[in-house]
């Protein structure tokens, strides 16, 4: 009887986890210790992790992991206080306890070393851009190639003027800190200068209240610069709604009721892109679209007459305005792209031909 029981216990007893070690988690804000161990070779249902402060008595449970894991992050350790850890293998019967680890204390770090490559790239790219912006400001002649679709802008505004119909400008649906919105506002400024000159009505519906404010000021300024402050009307630029499809419904309504001769769909767009572009195509407008939302580009390409793809959108504001600062930035971006191209080619050569661990260096 007793021997049978002992035999059963021996069957149930499992080898405890071994090699428990604890270290401060690197590159974090403190309050975390990483515990690692070697799993028990026997079948277990999971592990329980216990910890004891230096000089303390009690072992507290700090968490559980699944049966195939050999790593646990103890989050919530007081910084600067040393603890040691034990790992308990949980089974159907008696748990098996490991020996204690060495002492470890968590502490916060001031710099995340994982981001060193990001920091280096930031400086290189910033150098390229600022260098060419400075060149441009000093009056260096900077070239920018023709961008298909932008020549259509003048033509499209002229067409609206001839037909006596308005121009609709949708500055995208995103907020002001979105680069596409900034580029769109710059292009809006150029478009507004031309509509002011020709006296073409302009309609600018907005989805973001701040973008609305900025767009309104920009249009007003353009009308003043074009010498037509009288032609600017308070009602040209307005806010609609921040609900994506409520906005789309209203813009669709404007497209079909006001029948603009030209629609500009420029900025950041989501699923409503084709709802707007296809309604515009139905109403017979010439459509010029531009976005850096890669997932929406296919729809603009199919439904619009001209589409500025990705970076072309940023280049467009430089191309239209001929602002030296913008041209300089474009050139800086080109050099940065050349650097990326070089890194891809050289990195692949080094990795394949010489087995250099390029990926780990990045």
């Amino acid at each position: 009887m007793l021997t049978g029981l002992l035999a059963a216990l021996a069957l149930l007893a499992v080898t405890p986890p071994a090699g428990v070690s604890a270290t401060d988690r690197p590159n974090d804000g403190g309050r975390a210790v990483i515990v690692t161990w070697t799993c028990s070779p026997d079948p277990v249902t999971g592990y329980r992790i216990l910890r004891q402060p230096e000089g303390g008595e009690a072992w507290d449970t700090v968490g559980f992991t699944g049966p195939r894991l050999a790593r646990f992050v103890d989050e919530g350790t007081p910084d600067g206080v040393s603890h040691r850890y034990r790992v308990l293998a949980l089974t159907e019967g008696e748990p098996a306890e490991s020996g204690p680890s060495g002492y470890a204390a968590s502490r916060p770090q001031w710099f995340n070393t994982d981001y060193i490559p990001a920091l280096i790239f930031t400086f290189i790219f910033a150098f390229f851009i600022l260098y060419f912006v400075r060149q441009a400001r000093r009056g260096a002649k900077l070239f920018i190639r023709r961008i298909a679709g932008l020549d259509a802008v003048e033509e499209a505004i002229g067409r609206a003027t001839e037909m006596g119909r308005p121009i609709l400008y949708v500055p995208g649906l995103s907020s002001i800190d979105d680069v596409a919105t900034i580029a769109s506002i710059n292009i809006l400024g150029e478009v507004a200068k031309r509509t002011a000159k020709f006296g073409t009505p302009l309609i600018v519906p907005n989805r973001d209240p701040i973008v609305y404010t900025v767009a309104r000021e920009t249009v007003k300024q353009s009308y003043t610069e074009a010498g037509r402050p009288d032609a600017f009307s308070q009602d040209m630029v307005f806010y609609v709604a921040d609900q994506q499809f409520a906005y789309a419904a209203a813009v669709d309504g404007i497209m079909t009721r006001e029948k603009p001769a030209t629609n500009f769909l420029i900025g950041m767009f989501w699923a409503e892109s084709l709802i707007l572009a296809e309604t515009g195509a139905t109403s017979g407008a010439v459509q010029i679209a531009g976005t850096d939302a890669i997932s929406q580009l296919p729809f603009f390409i199919t439904a619009c007459d001209y589409t500025l793809i990705g970076e072309e959108l940023y280049a467009a504001s430089a191309y239209l305005s001929r602002e030296p600062v913008l041209l300089g930035a474009i050139k800086g971006q080109d050099y940065s792209k050349a650097l990326i191209l070089g890194l891809i080619i050289v990195g692949t050569l080094l990795a394949v031909a010489f087995g250099v661990p390029v990926i780990d260096l990045l």
């Binding site: 990001a118 308070q234 084709l274």
Partner: protein, 222 residues
């Protein structure tokens, strides 16, 4: 003052936000969190005032001028006013009612009821218009006019054929080829565009921070 001070704020806040990315220390992170959770949220909430002010004025002007379809402006104004009153005073959680009763007999007019029975169907139906627009855009644009248009057409066509169950029986390798197009050339194109877009983002953010890009102040780059 009118221009320099806002530019200075952008510079200071912007440098903090970019540097905070590299510093995991809780002193920096807690300030960063206050920024993201409290400051930006509260400021954004106030910005709605600009929007609501604009839309009210837009429709009041329409009514005053008796612009085309002006009676519809009343619908927007009334709907805005009624739903705002119900929402503000009737509470947003059905379990915690506000001072305004939101139920008469078995009929509820709580803001969440309005949300699920008016906003959701309206938004979902606007979204569903895409099913039709995709078809008409495809019919109109997918013509083998030139080489580029043909590529667009063929790739779209293969993907669509691949999704029809019958294809698996008629042309067995087609669905796998469709997946290959999605996984290989599509990935390459998107990644290539993404590099340029990211650099553009970086450049524009940098220009905003340093006050080189001032379009947001309203009134061109000057």
């Amino acid at each position: 003052m009118k221009r320099q001070l806002p530019l200075l704020i952008v510079l200071v806040v912007g440098i903090f936000a970019s540097v905070a990315f590299f510093i995991p220390h809780p002193i920096v992170r807690s300030v960063d969190e206050v920024f993201r959770n409290d400051v930006l949220r509260i400021i954004a909430a106030f910005s709605l005032v600009l929007g609501v002010g604009s839309i009210l004025r837009h429709h009041f002007i329409k009514i005053k001028r008796k612009a085309e379809h002006w009676p519809f402006s009343y619908i927007t104004l009334v709907a805005l006013f009624v739903s705002a009153v119900i929402g503000l005073f009737g509470g947003i959680d059905p379990s915690r009612p506000g001072i305004l009763p939101t139920q008469v007999g078995g009929f509820s007019f709580h803001i969440q009821t309005l949300f699920s029975n008016m906003m959701v169907p309206l938004a979902a139906t606007m979204f569903a218009l895409l099913a039709f627009f995709m078809a008409s855009a495809a019919y109109r644009a997918f013509r083998a006019r030139n080489f580029e248009a043909t590529l667009l057409l063929v790739a779209a066509f293969i993907l669509m054929l691949g999704a029809v169950p019958l294809t698996r029986i008629i042309i067995p390798p087609l669905p796998d080829f469709a997946e290959w197009i999605l996984a290989v050339p599509n990935t390459a194109a998107k990644r290539g565009i993404q590099f340029g877009v990211s650099l553009g983002m970086f450049a524009t953010s940098l220009k905003i921070l340093l006050g080189i890009e001032r379009g947001w102040l309203g009134g061109g780059g000057s």
